[in-house]
């Protein structure tokens, strides 16, 4: 068992794909680094914090991108974002069986904030173009830094999100909310609160994550493989169905102030027990209780 949470972006890819099948595009030897970091006296990385390439998953052809949270929290800068956009657009030409995004990002990289923000919107449009062309885009989210900011939106544009309970998915990070709105709004040091708000279990219960897996690279691999046959549907009726589901979420849980309230309303007995359950026990406990 290899912990996905602890692994690096490259380590995750090595464990996820068929051995030796990854061909990296613009690898570190190309030294396509961020020029903006240098200007601000900040160290750059040779891959600008993202690995993109082609590989195989159980023999099936996939394009992959993996963000490295250890480098600037996986934040998106000009080069980083352009690599991701280019990879997605490559799928339009090469038509793989799917695109896998191993997200780990705090959002936009402040050192190049404007470039990063625009880049994320380009990624968003590219994701939707790939899906509209019938190729599924699958997100894997289980890294140390979670997935926030623009990448939190990107993740929910895709066909499915695979999470471990350690994974986090949201828009504004708890620290950002605490800094801006005060500790009463969101105590970012209360990690139990953080995880039951944006962690994998809650996201799975809400339906934001399609699959919840153990913190194990091979579990992520199996889940990604199972989702490759997903047929993207970006039609009006699909979006109307999503609209209805989001309406129902607002209606059922709009007045909830804590995940425990939501879980209770979902009919989970002893909701306070959920955080401590192992993934298998958790899945068995909540199997017919998801929103």
């Amino acid at each position: 068992m290899t912990s996905y949470y602890e692994d690096s972006a490259r380590g995750r890819l090595a464990g996820l794909l068929d051995p030796g099948s990854l061909t990296e595009i613009l690898p570190p030897t190309e030294r396509v680094v961020s020029p903006h970091l240098r200007q601000l006296d900040t160290p750059a990385a040779f891959d600008d914090g993202i690995v993109v390439g082609e590989g195989r998953l159980a023999g099936r052809r996939v394009l992959v991108a993996a963000q490295e949270g250890g480098f600037m929290g996986g934040a998106v800068g000009e080069v980083h974002g352009a690599k991701l956009t280019g990879l997605l657009e490559r799928a339009l030409d090469t038509r793989p069986d799917g695109v896998l995004l191993l997200v780990e990002s705090g959002g936009v990289r402040l050192h190049e904030a404007n470039a990063g923000l625009i880049a994320v919107s380009e990624v968003m449009r590219a994701v939707l173009a790939v899906r509209a062309s019938g190729i599924p885009v699958i997100v894997l989210d289980g890294g140390t830094f979670g997935c926030f900011g623009g990448m939190g939106i990107v993740s929910r544009l895709c066909d499915a999100v695979v999470m471990s309970e350690e994974g986090r998915l949201g828009l504004s990070g708890p620290e950002v909310i605490e800094t801006t709105m005060g500790v009463e709004e969101f105590d970012s040091r209360d990690r139990a609160l953080v995880w039951r708000t944006v962690g994998g279990k809650h996201r799975y219960l809400l339906g934001e994550a399609a699959t919840l897996v153990e913190d194990d690279v091979s579990a992520f691999r199996a889940a990604a493989l199972a989702l490759l046959d997903h047929k993207p549907d970006v039609s009006l009726s699909a979006l109307e169905a999503e609209h209805a589901a989001l309406a129902s979420r607002l209606e059922r849980f709009g007045d909830c102030r804590d995940a425990l309230d939501i879980w209770e309303r979902l009919g989970v007995e002893e909701p306070e027990r959920l955080p401590i359950l192992d993934t298998a026990d958790f899945l068995a406990t909540v199997c017919d209780r998801r929103a």
Binding site: S8, P28, T29, R38, D41, P43, A45, F46, G70, F71
Partner: protein
């Protein structure tokens, strides 16, 4: 930021080197090490970009020992460092150069 360059002579080239080896991550207290074969006329060249300014002598001492352990020639070693301690620097370089000399990507 500081950019430091070191060169070593007297090493031996690796017979069939891999195209490149990358080890580590550019994160706080850590570094990435990129090792590539390069036609340097027998030199081993190390280029360091580091966020910790003023440690040139320390880098020299660490790299002297690394070269003594891994006397390689025609190798370009590129480092992006965010204030890693010499212990971590030595560890990453050992990992990278073992993999490079072994000819396999770790």
């Amino acid at each position: 930021m500081e950019i430091l360059t070191y060169e070593y002579r007297g090493g031996r080239p690796v017979a069939s080197p891999p195209p490149s080896v990358l080890v580590g991550v550019v994160g706080s207290g850590n570094l990435e090490v990129l090792v590539e074969p390069a036609p340097l006329g027998g030199l081993c060249r190390v280029e360091v970009q580091t966020a910790a300014v003023g440690f040139g002598a320390t880098w020299q001492a660490v790299l002297d020992d690394v070269f003594a352990r891994h006397p390689l020639a025609d190798v370009r070693i590129s480092i992006n460092d965010v204030g890693a301690t010499p212990a971590v620097v030595g560890l990453r370089l050992d990992q990278a150069l073992d993999a490079f000399a072994g000819g396999a990507q770790p």
